[in-house]
Amino acid sequence: MASTNSSRQSAASSTHRAPAGDKFCLMLYGSVPTACFVIGYTAHRRDAMENRILKAIPSRELRVISSQLKPVMLAKGAVLYEAGERIAELYLPEDAIVSYLSGTVNGETIEVGVVGNEGIVGIAGLLGEATAFRAVVQIPGHAFSLKRDLLRKEFRRHEGLHRVLLQYTNALVVQLAQTAVCNKFHSVEERFCRWLLMAHDRAPSDILPMTQESVARVLGSRRASVSVVAASFQKKGAIRYSRGMIRILDRKHLEAGSCECYEIITEAHLKLDA
């Protein structure tokens, strides 16, 4: 437990592009895709937390749920919920990234929404009971899990928690709607850039443990199309990919290549902190 905790500290305290984070990702890559495992109970200090929902809750209220937050490790590829499943636990990612995926007619998948440190996975459990989508861990990492029944009860009682979760729900409405527009109307290239920028914002390092295959599954396009796009951005010096990883070298190229959806979605989620 001590070693996992210290790696969490190093990942959390390092900035976006620090090499410490790279090591962290390498360590996690290839871990077994079981759902997740508990890494122990600790006293949670807000300044050590990366999740923006937890950071935005007033400290008095955070203390109420803090003893119930269970630190967990989310392994790459782990399925947190299947479509239609009743939600028992919600997850607040620290540096993990989770996708809501839907199937397409050709048996491919497409991402309808993404959750990282700006949000909470399984909000459908708070609003209703079951999720309509499969939730899959794209980038492995840490999260806190919280029992649905507990959150549902406390959420109604605490004004700050209530406000923050509702603001997040509104941001998610914007994200899902804008992602839908993006998936339908924008090129694979634009969507590739948008996704990498969004993932980079939420990841602890510049290395995203994503194969071109897994990027294709998120974008709902064929591997071959993703491959062409990835090659062109590698040539520009924006990214470098190797052995199932994509390293972000220069965000400027990705920002130039992305559609405005990146900004619209990012701005919607920033309002949480306002």
Partner: protein, 221 residues
């Protein structure tokens, strides 16, 4: 009557009603401008409000719509705005109230609070499924799905829409809508004249539609 209001216990509905006023929604009226916080929320009875996203180059696509089953202007409840334009797609009536007073009811009334949460759940599913539908399915399936959804909300089989307007809702060109409408008409599912479409057989149209229509409906509670 709006379902959300209809499902409230009579005592709670009375309290809410005191802060609501009936309003006529006229076709084409813009109720919400993108990125501007709304001061009012709307509970349609038989009108339909559509939220439109920008597809680039002047095009638009419907990202979600609100009829008797829902509420338009929810984001104002938590003081946020959204980057979409909300316009009246089908004329009708609604009850409307100031967000500031509805926020108090939302905090106090458990029944209203829970109804809003359930609606949010449905809304997230509707948005995602409409998006997936637009991405995955043929224009005939999408047109059928949309006609069924709007027909349910408007409570009529006669819909006043030009093919241009439908193109701006389904995010495609007028010519594409024209071809799809002709195909549905030749199967006897709809009939159309300039500026109007009539649903001839709902069951036939359900068969022509993808599963998205049924799935979205199944999440309504």
């Amino acid at each position: 009557m709006n379902s959300i209001l209809h499902c409230l216990p009579p005592s709670e509905f009375k309290l809410l009603e005191a802060d609501l006023n009936p309003v006529e929604l006229s076709k084409g009226e813009v109720l919400f401008e993108p990125d501007r916080r709304g001061d009012y929320m709307y509970f349609p009875s038989d009108g339909v409000i559509s939220f439109l996203g920008d597809t680039g180059e002047g095009g638009s696509v419907e990202v979600w719509s609100v009829g008797y089953e829902g509420i338009a202007g929810l984001s104002s409840l938590s003081g946020t705005s959204k980057p979409f334009r909300g316009i009246v797609q089908v004329a009708g009536t609604a009850l409307t109230g100031k967000t500031s007073s509805l926020r108090r009811h939302f905090q106090k009334s458990n029944a209203f609070h829970d109804a809003v949460l359930r609606y949010y759940d449905y809304l997230l599913v509707q948005i995602s499924y409409v998006g997936i539908c637009n991405h995955n399915h043929s224009i005939e399936q999408r047109l059928s799905r949309w006609l069924l959804m709007i027909g349910d909300r408007a409570g009529t089989t006669e819909l006043k829409f030009t093919q241009d307007a439908i193109a701006g809702i389904l995010g495609t060109r007028r010519a594409t809508i024209s071809v799809a409408a002709a195909a549905l008409q030749s199967q006897g599912l709809i009939s159309y004249s300039p500026g109007a479409i009539k649903i001839e057989t709902r069951r036939g149209l359900e068969k022509a539609s993808c599963r998205c229509y049924k799935f979205i409906n199944s999440r309504k509670r």
